[in-house]
């Protein structure tokens, strides 16, 4: 910095420094440099081994990355995720309402639901729904096996699972809204629906969105579990191909890369949704 640029800035009258004012010398952090060098070396080694390992067969990955059956599987994964999130959060919001209700019966039912469906591993639940015909061979005169296709089993199982977690996320969001907000809305004569929709929910969303974004990404990858009941999702489509061609690793890479692409896009979307609900808080990141 040259002295003439400084001179243009009006400054406080100069106070003469004592001649012996000590200067500060920052500590040299050799340890940090060494740690960074080691980590970079290890990272370079890992990336190099991935790129040079012929067994990854990156050319095969490229061949299948946009193949029809993979894209169809990706499409099923995407809409299954969307359906499960929407239904799961709708049911979860209802259950959160139960848990916060003044009615002790509803409170107990809400609590019981969350307890039950958080206790059952999702894989076990899917297998139970898949075999529901063994428990209830017929419902209203229709064969259960015909009623619940594997995709329907996937939707039901994942939604019930999702709702238990969504209920807790939504309940936490609602509890984070200051009690005074509801009182102010009541004092202004706002209807119950309006209080919920206009005052409580938008404020609760600030607390709900980050964990909900986490759940969305978790669900996207979690849907891969439906491959065990032969639903044609992204992972199962890749498996169908490698069972035929034995190119296991490259096809798993195809699925992995697609999951990573969609997860990244969702992360970007979450950033903007969070920004939207941070309106008026003064700390929009």
């Amino acid at each position: 910095m040259s002295s003439d640029t400084l001179a243009k800035v009006p400054t406080a009258p100069e106070i003469p420094e004592p001649a012996d004012a000590p200067r500060v010398v920052p500590q040299r952090r050799y340890g940090q440099w060494a740690a960074a060098a080691v980590v970079l070396a290890l990272l370079g080694f890992a990336v190099n081994s991935v790129l040079r390992n012929e067994a990854f067969q990156w050319d095969v990955v490229a061949d299948y990355f946009t193949s029809d059956s993979i894209l169809r599987g990706l499409w099923l994964t995407l809409w299954l995720t969307a359906v499960v999130m929407v239904l799961g959060f709708a049911l979860g919001t209802l259950l959160a309402g139960f848990r916060l209700s003044a009615n002790p019966v509803l409170r107990a039912v809400g609590w019981g639901y969350v307890w039950l469906f958080r206790s059952i591993p999702i894989l076990v639940q899917l297998l139970l729904w898949f075999n529901i015909g063994a428990l209830y061979p017929q419902v209203f005169g229709v064969k259960t096996v015909n009623l619940l296709s594997p995709v329907a089993v996937a939707i039901v199982g994942l939604t019930l699972h999702e709702a238990a977690y969504a209920a807790e996320v939504v309940r936490g969001g609602i509890l984070s809204v200051d009690r005074g907000q509801i009182e102010a809305a009541q004092a202004l004569g706002l209807s119950r629906w309006r209080r919920w929709w206009r005052i409580v929910l938008p404020q609760a969303m600030r607390t709900i969105v980050p964990p909900a974004g986490n759940m969305l990404i978790g669900t996207l990858k979690g849907t891969s579990i439906v491959s065990v009941i032969a639903v044609n999702d992204l992972l199962f489509s890749a498996q169908l191909i490698y069972h035929r061609t034995y190119q296991v690793i490259p096809l798993l890479m195809v699925a992995t890369l697609w999951y990573a692409v969609v997860t990244s896009l969702l992360g970007i979307g979450q950033y903007y949704v969070e920004k939207h609900y941070a309106r008026g808080t003064g700390n929009a990141r």
Binding site: D178, G180, Q181, E183, A184, A185, Q186, A187, L188, G189, L190, S191, R192, R194, R198, I199, P202, Q203, Y277, R279, G280, T281, G282
Partner: protein
């Protein structure tokens, strides 16, 4: 002058704690009543029972001739459905200690919300009168700001404008300046003073003794859930009859 608020033998307890032990109070239309008293004396609870934010255990409260929160039939009071209570509340403005502005809505939307959604008034007309109200509390240029961008005093003035937007018959203030930095108290009291000069019926719970002396038509002193004494400020503040009042005033003055 007609009676705007009629409170008769109101009792309220939270669990084993008796907060209000038989309150009788009449507030005439166009008058300013200031309620003073030590913390825990029940003054805020009394204010909240008037617009039915708290339900009373015994007794009754009428505002502008209408029984709040209940319908009388014979010697019984039947609780009104929430819709009816909400409609009654739109005739009463309430200003909170902590403002309770809606932080996710702009200043203008805070003011516009209730007339549009609770009274079903056309938004365009409401927006126009909201701008006038904001002008009146000295915040005409802050319509598009969010509450957290404002100082405490400005937020409380928005809260007053929000309450006025319903064109209430009665305004209730629950310690409107207690959450403010000392240098911001004056601007809020100025707005309340202006409302008093326009003949708005108000009940103000506060610790501002000087303000009570200047603006109140009636000062009510409460302690331990009862009204200890009430009267014109010159009497209650200048020459209190009761020992409790004298002790309190000696502490706060």
């Amino acid at each position: 002058m007609s009676v705007m608020v009629d409170i008769r033998s109101v009792h309220k307890s939270f669990g084993s704690l008796d907060v209000l032990r038989g309150i009788d109070l009449q507030v005439r239309a166009g008058e300013v009543t200031v309620v003073l008293g030590p913390s825990g004396s029940g003054k805020s609870t009394l204010l909240r029972t008037i617009n039915h934010l708290e339900k009373v255990d015994r007794g009754e409260i009428s505002v502008d001739g209408a029984l709040m929160g209940y319908r009388r039939s014979g010697d019984r009071l039947y609780e009104l459905p929430e819709r009816e209570v909400l409609r009654q509340r739109t005739r009463i403005g309430f200003v909170f200690q902590n403002f309770n502005l809606f932080p996710h809505l702009t200043v203008l939307d805070n003011v516009v919300e209730a007339p549009v959604s609770a009274l079903k008034r056309p938004r365009k007309a409401v927006v126009e009168s909201a701008h006038r109200l904001l002008e009146r509390v000295g915040l005409g240029d802050k319509a598009d700001a969010y509450p957290r961008q404002l100082s405490g005093g400005q937020q409380q003035r928005v809260a007053i404008a929000r309450a006025l937007a319903l064109e209430p018959r009665l305004l209730l203030f629950d310690e409107p300046t207690s959450a403010l930095d000392p240098e911001l108290v004056g601007e809020v009291l100025d707005v309340i003073r202006d409302l008093a000069a326009r003949g708005t019926t108000m009940i103000v719970v506060t610790h501002e003794i000087a303000f009570a002396r200047e603006v109140a038509d009636t000062v009510v002193f409460m302690a331990d859930g009862r009204i200890v004494e009430q009267g014109p400020p010159a009497e209650v503040l200048g020459a209190p009859r009761e020992e409790r009042t004298r002790t309190f005033l000696a502490k706060v003055l």
